[in-house]
Amino acid sequence: MKSKTSFSKIVYLKAKIEGDEIFRLVSALFALATILLVGLMVYELTRGSWLSLQKFGLWFIMGTSWDPVFTLNFGALPLILGTLTTSAIALAMGVPISIGIGLLLSEYIPKRLGFFVSFMVELLAAIPSVIYGLWGIFVLIPFLRNNVYPYIQAVLGSLPLFSGPIYGGGVLTAGIVLAIMIIPIISSVSRDVLSAVPHSQREAVISLGATKWETCKIVMSYAKPGVIGAIILGLGRAIGETMAVTMLIGNKFKVLPSSFFDAWYTMAAIIANEFTEATSDVYVSALIHVGLTLFLISLIVNVIARLIVWRTLRLVKGVSRG
């Protein structure tokens, strides 16, 4: 009898272990598939851009001409600059607002109201980017052109960055819409991170007589790595965003725009614009090459972000230990 029980127990244990083993294998397989997928993407992008890589080589990223009609010379420098600039504008405007929302939700307002506010903010993330584009064309652009940009120009017009004709669309407009698009991502992740800060921290600071503002600062410093991670997620979205930017930036291939109000171009936008009607092989290859460049830049941004997160994580740990 006794031996039987222990036998069934062993079988049961064995099954359990086998189940664990299977689960482990399946999980590993999924994880591996992701890595394989990334590898496959790099391979395909490289293969597709091979012609262009042969013709332009690494100089592609420094090239400043885009001529599909006569010379078939292609270069991506203006596109790279356009992508980075619009993303930077988006971060400059979106990050303070997002962190503000995050702090409000985690520190200031009651949970139920917070739930409602965060629901509304996250709703922004559910709007398709083509809708942002259309809204930009028909609502935001007329508003900015008539009610905002002229005043900016009146104040800052002496700076070359804010001079020149105002069309409505352009670098700044694209940046503003991008900012709106990345706010839900950054704010919801930073809210989660800020809420995860242990209450003991807040209580300790308050017990020392800190004001609410000082408490927020301490909470922020504790949550810094997570918030940076959130910002990077937003940056990733801004860099890759295609449709809304394409509809708003004016799509002009030039090395530098004359001002923030001028039209420019981004990597994602030129692919969306020109891929379907690109017929010559070099042309198609150059567009895929732009895709490869976009991929690599996203990769670099992510690596840098990782490094920052690690570094601050170590710093924060050091602080809390001290």
């Binding site: 885009w66 001529d67 599909p68 009609v69 006569f70 064309i137 028909f138 652009i141 007329p142 052109r145 004709p165 069309y167 409505g168 669309g169 394409t246 509809m247 004016g250 799509n251 002009k252 291939f253 039209a263 936008a269 969306a272 614009n273 020109e274 891929f275 379907t276 009607e277 690109a278 017929t279």
Partner: protein, 373 residues
């Protein structure tokens, strides 16, 4: 035992009856050419998509077993898929260039509909019907004419109070047949344009803003006072956007309309090549720009083409039945199909173009066998 024997006899009888029945019914059950379900895949230009889509729906009522699948991925994509032989037919707003034709040898061109490009503008407080000429359009899109009250514009529009405002030029940013047609026109009227900017689905615009799609251009034009741009006529008409008149070689000012496009196509139809010849040089635009008699013709007009292989056995998975159905569909589009054109604002083909297409479709073969008698 008896029971068993009875059962045996019964079984044999039933089997015999079924067999005999099948033998008798055989010719009725399996027709000479099976009316089986087939799918014909096509891809290409987005400009004629609403028309092709309508055709597909209507043709399915006529031929229930033939399903046609058309992906509007753009002319460039259509030509690529045709070259790679992944579709049975492609549609393109431009004929194959010599190098494209070399990659897809034995391609037939079947012009199946006609479209045009309208010049749209936004001039607050100015009545509609501004007049343009080819030279003025070239100058505007090159940035040489930068003010609305430029003497050249004033000369064409003496009764209009043109404002002293900068012209904001708007063009397509995405690769598009519309841009190809429009820049073909500018290249035709100006050697300078031809040499420096050229024609293409995307060109290096010297000035202006780029909008994505017809809606992007129309949006930018409607949002920016004192702007000018170009869109497909159908888009301008459906959305009630003011368009300009254009001076043709006969000296008359013509507005884009189904009639003026048809008149333009009729000019070009006189000199169309055979279906198997090179169509690279076919251009309604050129013919209208050079024809001083065509009073009613609007110059920025172009064909959309079906591209089909002359010998269909070059396509993988093609069989004679499917090939025959493809040919029947093409035949239908240039005849009955044309009846649906006008209601969708496409131009029905002139009769001499239909005649040329009939000739072309009769050339299509499968394993050397003619498919349409």
């Amino acid at each position: 035992m008896d029971l068993n024997r009875n059962r045996k006899i019964f079984l044999v009888a039933v089997t015999a009856i079924i067999t005999i029945g099948l033998v008798i019914a055989y010719p009725y059950l399996i027709p000479a050419e099976p009316e089986r379900e087939i799918t014909i895949n096509g891809a290409g230009a987005s400009f004629p998509f609403p028309l092709v889509d309508k055709w597909i729906a209507e043709y399915n009522k006529v031929k229930k077993n033939v399903k046609i699948n058309y992906q509007s991925i753009g002319s460039g994509g259509g030509i690529r898929q045709h070259t790679e032989k992944t579709v049975y037919f492609a549609a393109s707003d431009a004929p194959l260039t010599p190098s494209q034709a070399a990659n897809a040898s034995n391609t037939l061109h079947i012009p199946f509909t006609i479209g045009g490009v309208a010049i749209i503008y936004n001039l607050p407080g100015v009545p509609k019907d501004i007049k343009f000429s080819g030279e003025i359009l070239v100058d505007i899109f090159m940035g040489k004419i930068s003010k609305w009250n430029d003497p050249k514009l004033v000369e064409l529009n003496p009764n209009v109070n043109l404002p002293d405002k900068d012209i904001i030029v708007v063009h397509r940013s995405d690769g598009s047949g519309t841009t190809f047609v429009f820049t073909s026109y500018l290249s035709e009227v100006s050697e300078e344009w031809k040499a420096n900017i050229g024609r293409g689905t995307v060109v290096n615009w010297p000035v202006g803003l780029g909008g994505k799609g017809n809606e992007g251009v129309a949006g930018l034009v409607s949002q920016n006072p004192y702007s000018v741009g170009y869109v497909e006529f159908i888009y301008a008409k459906k959305n009630n956007i003011a368009w300009g008149y254009l001076k043709n070689a006969a000296g008359s000012f013509v507005e884009p309309s189904l009639d003026s496009f048809r008149a333009a196509a009729a000019v070009a139809a006189v000199t169309l090549p055979k279906g198997y010849e090179s169509w690279a040089e076919v251009s309604i635009i050129r013919d209208v720009v050079r024809n001083t008699q065509a009073v009613d013709a609007y110059p920025i007009t172009s064909f959309s083409y079906f591209l089909v292989y002359k010998e269909l056995n070059v396509l993988p998975n093609m069989d004679e039945y499917t090939a025959r159905q493809l040919v029947e569909f093409l035949w239908w589009t240039i005849h009955d199909g044309q009846n649906y054109s006008a209601e969708l604002d496409y131009v029905p083909l002139p009769s001499n173009v239909v005649a040329r297409n009939e000739e072309t479709i009769r050339m299509i073969t499968f394993n050397g066998k003619q498919l349409k008698g």
